[in-house]
Structures are given as structure tokens and as C-alpha cells.
């Protein structure tokens, strides 16, 4: 809990300094008061934990996002082609895929990665499976190869 509060504090300080652009003593001290207030409220709301401050992922996440970016571009191209070719080119499919993730954070990263890539939307997430609606059954097949899932599983190792 301590370390997460600290990292939230750092995050908030960076957020304030980047947004503010005014570094007079007055504004800076108002900023300090604001950050203290926000941390207090966040603690009361119990939103400061390893789910909101996933420090353990910090090292491995950038590489994952680069890979996701590549996927994102490819699937965008795919969906855009289908849009212009018309409704005949799509074959909507739904499937429930088993997942093997140890914590909710990873499940959420997986679910959101699927939704973020056009052509697939996560409709349901549970402990051991994820339901996906896809624009074409080939996207489901791609998910079934488990590449994305494996990459996410490797994140917190």
C-alpha cells in the first residue's frame, strides 16, 4: 500500500508539472495542496493499490505496447478494407476463448487489447474465459493461436 501511494504521488506531481506550465511559488504550493488532497481522497476511495498502480508491469509493458501497435495497424487495415468492400466481406462470429491468466490486471490488459484492435470486441471477461465478438472468424482463429495471451502472461515475470 505504501509503495503504491508513493508512486501515485510521483505520478500526480508529474501530471501537475506537465499540465501547469506556471512555476511560481504560489501555483506550486497550490499544486502541493491539491496533490495532498487528491491522495487523501484516493486513499479514502481505496483506489490506490497494485491494480491502479501496476508497478510490477513497468519494465515489461513498453515492449508489449510496441507489439500491440503493430497488431493495431494490421487490424485497422483489415477492417478498413472490409468497410470499403461492403457488408459482403464480413463474417461476424462469436467465440468463448479459454484464458490462463493469474490476475485481474492481466485479464483486463488482455480484454482491452482485444477491444483496442479493430475487428474484435471483448463482450465478457471471467476468471478463466473471455468472450469475443469478431468481424470475421479469421480474427478468432488468430486469437486462438494464443500469441497475445502468451505475451501478456509474460508481462509480470
Amino acid at each position: 500500500m505504501k509503495i503504491q501511494t508513493f508512486s501515485l504521488g510521483i505520478l500526480l506531481v508529474i501530471f501537475w508539472l506537465l499540465n501547469s506550465g506556471h512555476y511560481t511559488p504560489m501555483i506550486l504550493s497550490l499544486g502541493a495542496v491539491s496533490i495532498a488532497l487528491v491522495i487523501m481522497i484516493a486513499r479514502r476511495m481505496k483506489v490506490v493499490d497494485d491494480e491502479s498502480q501496476p508497478l510490477h508491469l513497468a519494465a515489461s509493458i513498453p515492449a508489449y505496447y510496441l507489439w500491440l501497435l503493430k497488431e493495431l495497424v494490421l487490424s485497422n487495415v483489415d477492417v478498413v478494407t472490409r468497410i470499403w468492400r461492403g457488408a459482403g466481406s464480413i463474417s461476424p462470429a462469436m467465440a468463448t476463448i479459454r484464458i490462463n491468466q493469474t490476475n485481474d490486471m492481466n485479464r483486463v490488459i488482455y480484454a482491452n487489447s482485444i477491444t483496442l484492435t479493430p475487428g474484435t470486441v471483448t463482450t465478457e471477461v471471467s476468471r478463466d474465459s473471455i468472450t469475443v465478438h469478431a468481424l470475421s472468424s479469421s480474427s478468432i482463429d488468430a486469437l486462438n493461436t494464443g500469441e497475445m495471451e502468451a505475451r501478456i502472461r509474460r508481462l509480470d515475470r
Binding site: 501515485l8 501537475w16 491539491s34 487528491v38 476511495m45 483506489v47
Partner: protein, 332 residues
Amino acid sequence: MNMETVINMVLLSLLVVTAIAIVRIKDLFAAAMLAGIYGLLSASFFVMMDAVDVAFTEASVGAGISTLLMLTTLAMTGRFEKISGNYRPRLALVLVALTGALLIYGTLDMPAFGTAAAPVHEHVAPRYLNDSYAEIGIPNAVTSVLASYRGFDTFGEVVVIFTAGIGVLALLMRAEKPTPRTQTPTASMHEHMVLRIVAKMLIPLILLFGLYVQFHGEYGPGGGFQAGVIFASAFFLYSMLFGLSEARKVVNHVVVQILAALGVLLYGSVGIVSLMNGKNFLDYSALSADAVHGQHLGILAIELGVGITVTTVMIIIFFAFSGRNQIEGEKD
């Protein structure tokens, strides 16, 4: 024709089309959705007109909060208009037509839109624009006008908001009893895994963004009104995802009500302090030996008052509405 004119024309035509659609549509949920679009459109239009502060308010209130409040209302009242077959409001139609005609008649001798010779551009506006920086010392002239030159009007606005809060409390809190009930939102929180984690990440940042807007109103668009709404919206998000009773634990409603009054009080007492120092009500130059510094302090204080009142009244209204919904839901 340059791009700005084109954008203006498109935005205005979309506004008209949307307005007509809102009037024609029978499904009130759909109308609320379209009203959200209307808010987005008018805010874009304000941006085009360079009225950045207004656009800011419209973005947070018109496009955001008011849609939410309309939906909460619909959850209480039901989704479709109830019109009996022989409902013909002729008198109302005549009255509306008459008022409209009068208003149009009233605008006939007004100067044409955007004329430089219009009285408003010859007297007050140039005075504000030319002198406000020397007198108040802050770059955003809108804030100077709003908080200092016309501080009295703004005081009135804050009191109006406060009154609205009291009104909602008086109407809706009546049925409020701290009955322990099965909390649907909390119960389903595990299903809402994605929402839960994303909201947890965002809420502190939304809160801080609200405070940033609060304290930077002197330099850019923003100020107490917008900040209050943004700050409160973090609480809305929290209560929508974690349940109303959890949210009430975070902010006790007695404290919220007291704070709402304190915001107004803070604003008013700044005025009293300037009276005591021998200046006019809300003339902040009385607050410090250096007049410009006094203006700074005064604006900061009253904006804080505005921010506190707006935040708390928004929270009061939202909680009252959704609390009422839960009770109604239980009766069924």
C-alpha cells in the same frame, strides 16, 4: 470562403438538424442521446467563436453532466412520452408564437451581428480588454470580468446553484433512509473487471485535473465552475462503478451539505472583508496593500468558493437522483 466559415456553417446546420430531431423523436432516451450530441456541437461552435471559457463549461456541463442527469430522471419517469390523443395545447402554441414574434421584433433595431459599431464593442468591452491586465494583472480577461468586474453577478450565479442544490435536496432527499440494501453495483463489480481497473487508474488523475483547472483559471480557460464539475465527475464515476453507498462513505453527505454552504460563505465574506476595509463590496483591491495583488487574492478566494459550491451541489444532486432511483427500483 475560408475553412472557419465552412466549419461554422456545417456545425450550425447540424445544430438545427439535431434540434429538430430532438423535438420530433418520441423515445426520450434517444432524445437524451441527441441532446448530448447537441451539447458537443454547441461546444465546438463556441470554440470556433473563440469563446473558450464558455466552450469549457459547455463541454463539462452540456455534453457531460446534463446527459447523465437527464438519464437519471428518465430512470425515474419512464422512457416514452405519454400523450393522450386529444392533447392540443393551442393556447401554449399561441403564447409561444407571440413571445417569439415579440423577441424577433425586439431584435430588429439591434446592431447587425458582429458590427464593430455595436455599443457593446464601443464601451465596456474595449475598457475590459485594454485595462484589465493593468488593473487585475491576470492574462485571461474572461476571468477578470467574471470574477472581478462582475463579481457581483457571479456571486448571484453561485447562489442560484446553491439554491438548486437545496431544491433538489428538499424534493428528493425525503425518502432517503439509510436502509441497508443489496447493492447491485458492488455485487456486479467482479463482472465489471475492466471498468473497475480503468476507473481506479483514472479517478485520481481526474480529481487532480479538476484542481488544475480550478487554479489555472487566471491563465487559461477554466475556473471554479468548470473545475467543480470535473472534480465532481470523478465522484460520479466512483459511485456509478462502486455503488452509491460506497461513495457516501467517502464523502459524508452532511459534510457535503455544509461545504456547499461554506463555498457561498467564502465568496460572500471576501466581499465583506473588502467592505470592512472601506472599499466597495467585492472590490478585491482592498485585500492587500498592493491593489493588483489584492485582486489576485480575491479572485483566487472567490474561485475557490465557486469551485467548492459547484462540486458539492453537483454531488448532492447526483447522489439524490441516483439514491431515489435505487429506492424506486426496490419498490417494484
